[in-house]
């Protein structure tokens, strides 16, 4: 249609209630297409979202175990073998975006009973700590095993916060989640490296710096990106620990 106005062309004036007849059908068709188009877009966009995986809180499967609390360097609960079940090491987190350092530091002297809610994705389990009580009376005699060195590894993958990735949020990884992961780590949630290739069939690694200490803010620019990290891998019962040299980290994409 030309920009030039003509006598016969329909002319719409908004505050006049009478819409020119020639425009009524056009506007009705446009309205239907607009609403229908948005509906189709909603269906297409929402139904094709990526699978966030099977991680989640195990509300119906509350955790209660007796074990020993350690800082490796993040709080973990070492649980002794029980019959055919081998010894296990569980990563710990507090409520919300908080770590479990205070509970771990207070109760390092002896065995404890720890109650909480497991957050689980495959073989990655993070316990959201509820209550920790020192075991009174006949405490089981249990000395956790030392770490088993598995050599030096160069791994590619993503650094996540262990709680959200385990399923506290679905999805709990990726750049859209980066700020949340940042807050979680600042609050004391253990960082977890999700490797694209396994070491002894495990893809999840609790992270520490190359000396086995807590990682500082230098991890933040690497969060939620596809990175290559190099360091020593240790096995602590069933938990892998990746002691990385972040100075050698490379962002791949």
């Amino acid at each position: 249609m030309s920009w030039r106005q003509t006598k016969d062309a329909p002319f719409y004036v908004g505050y006049l209630n009478a819409v020119p007849k020639q425009l009524v059908m056009f506007l009705v068709v446009f309205s239907v297409c607009f609403a229908g188009g948005l509906g189709i877009a909603a269906l297409a966009l929402s139904s094709t979202q990526n699978d966030p995986g099977n991680g989640g809180f195990q509300w119906g499967n509350r955790f209660e175990n007796v074990g020993v609390l350690e800082l490796r360097p993040y709080p973990v609960l070492r649980v002794p073998a029980d019959g055919e079940t081998p010894a296990r090491t569980y990563m710990l987190a507090g409520q919300g975006k908080r770590g479990a350092f205070s509970q771990a530091e207070k109760n390092q002297d002896g065995p404890v009973t720890l109650r909480g809610v497991p957050v689980n994705r495959g073989d990655l389990t993070m316990i959201q700590v509820g209550r920790v009580e020192a075991v009174e009376g006949n405490a089981p005699d249990f000395t956790p095993a030392g770490p088993v060195p598995l050599g030096r590894w160069k791994l590619t993958g993503e650094i996540c916060d262990g709680k959200c990735y385990a399923g506290a949020m679905r999805p709990g990884r990726g750049l859209a989640h980066k700020a949340c992961a940042d807050l979680c780590l600042t609050g004391g949630i253990p960082p977890v490296f999700v490797s694209s290739g396994p070491v002894e069939n495990r893809n999840f690694f609790l992270m520490a710096d190359q000396d086995g200490n807590l990682i500082g803010d230098e991890i933040k620019p690497l969060l939620a990106l596809y990175v290559e990290l190099e360091g020593d891998v240790e096995r602590l019962d069933d938990l892998m620990v990746f002691k990385v040299d972040l100075a050698k980290a490379r962002i791949l994409k």
Partner: protein, 355 residues
């Protein structure tokens, strides 16, 4: 048009416009949040808060895309002009939908932390030197603030208070908001695991908005080139040849370009000719693409009206625009390119006498 400021002067067309908008937005959100998850191929459902965050965010993005397409579409095809009439309601609703998206982000990703969520929003990721990992939330905040300012100043009170040029310039920031939103999405959601549908929707939005503006720009440039003769052909000292009588339909106008920012609309009505500036005092709407209704020039955008002989809005309205002198030699219209002060009376040229 109104002589007093009220929040909204409702009429049937505005109610219909808003109803269609509300139905479309409600349909989008309902399908996104309630219907489509039933067709997702997922092991466990996406968190409700994240699903709603995505629903409101993508809805605001699509609404902003449509808002930006309305302008060029209305230039390319006048049948889209009714969409322009109440576009400010569209904008206000978009700002509201975007605010809900932001609220979900704030109360989900930034909540449950010892750090205050507003502090966390600005401090949790400060890697501004990175492209990948850039704090794309900041771009979303910038876009939201612009949308809020535009929504808050969308009322005619602000148009009158700031004046049309400043108001127009302020509302051009909608393009900055769109750019921020596109970058917010490109550096955030699109960097996740591959989602070809969402990527395609964002790409289509950018191509559509850019393409329509480019096409409109070309049309305007062609139109200006077509008027070059008016600028160059000085037939009589101080007068320009504006065209021939038969080029103008009754109650319609011909638009003559004098310079990049000055166009004149020459109206033919009741056997007479009058010339006024092409820019409406309200929002710079193209008066020359309007018509004469009830003896007044009527703007095609919002229906603002002006008397033909003096460019003044009929009482009790107070808007006024520049007028121009005309001459008729035979059937050729001559225009004095010097604009007269807004509201200056100029006797219309009688076609019968001069021709």
């Amino acid at each position: 048009m109104s002589v007093q400021y009220t929040p909204v002067i409702w009429n049937r067309n505005k109610i219909f416009y808003d109803a269609v908008l509300l139905i479309a937005v409600a349909l989008y959100l309902y399908i996104y949040i309630r219907v489509a998850p039933g067709y997702e191929d997922v092991t466990k459902p996406i968190d409700g808060a994240i699903l709603r965050m995505r629903a409101f965010g993508s809805c605001a993005f699509l609404m902003l895309t449509v808002i930006l397409c309305i302008g060029p579409l209305a230039r390319l095809d006048r049948r889209f002009l009714p969409l322009l009439y109440n576009r400010r309601h569209f904008g206000v609703m978009t700002a509201g939908i975007a605010a809900v998206h932001a609220n979900y982000v704030l109360t989900w990703y930034y909540n449950f932390s010892p750090t205050d969520k507003y502090v966390a929003l600005l401090s949790s990721n400060t890697n501004y030197g990175q492209v990948l990992g850039f704090p794309f939330e900041t771009l979303g905040i910038a876009a939201l603030l612009i949308l809020f300012v535009l929504a808050a100043t969308s009322h005619d009170f602000w148009l009158s208070f700031l004046g049309a040029p400043i108001w127009k310039a302020l509302h051009m920031f909608i393009y900055a908001a769109y750019a921020c939103v596109v970058l917010h999405v490109a550096l955030g959601a699109l960097q996740g695991a591959g989602d070809p549908i969402f990527t395609s929707v964002v790409a289509a939005s950018v191509v559509l908005v850019s393409g329509l503006h480019f096409a409109t720009g070309r049309m305007e440039a062609r139109r200006d080139r077509g008027e070059e003769t008016a600028k160059a052909s000085l037939q009589e000292k101080g007068w320009l040849v504006a065209g021939e009588l038969d080029e103008i339909d009754d109650d319609c106008a011909k638009v003559v370009t004098l310079s990049d920012d000055e166009r004149v609309a020459i109206f033919k009505y009741d056997g007479k000719l009058s010339a006024i500036t092409n820019a409406c005092a309200h929002q710079n709407g193209p008066l020359g693409e309007g018509k004469v209704l009830w003896g007044c020039i009527t703007c095609p955008w919002h229906g603002y009206q002006y008397n033909l002989s003096d460019g003044r809005a009929p009482a009790p309205f107070t808007e006024k625009i520049s007028t121009y002198k005309l001459k008729l030699i035979g059937s050729t219209i001559l225009l004095d390119p010097n604009a007269l002060p807004p509201g200056t009376h100029v006797d219309p040229v009688e076609i019968g006498e001069a021709a």
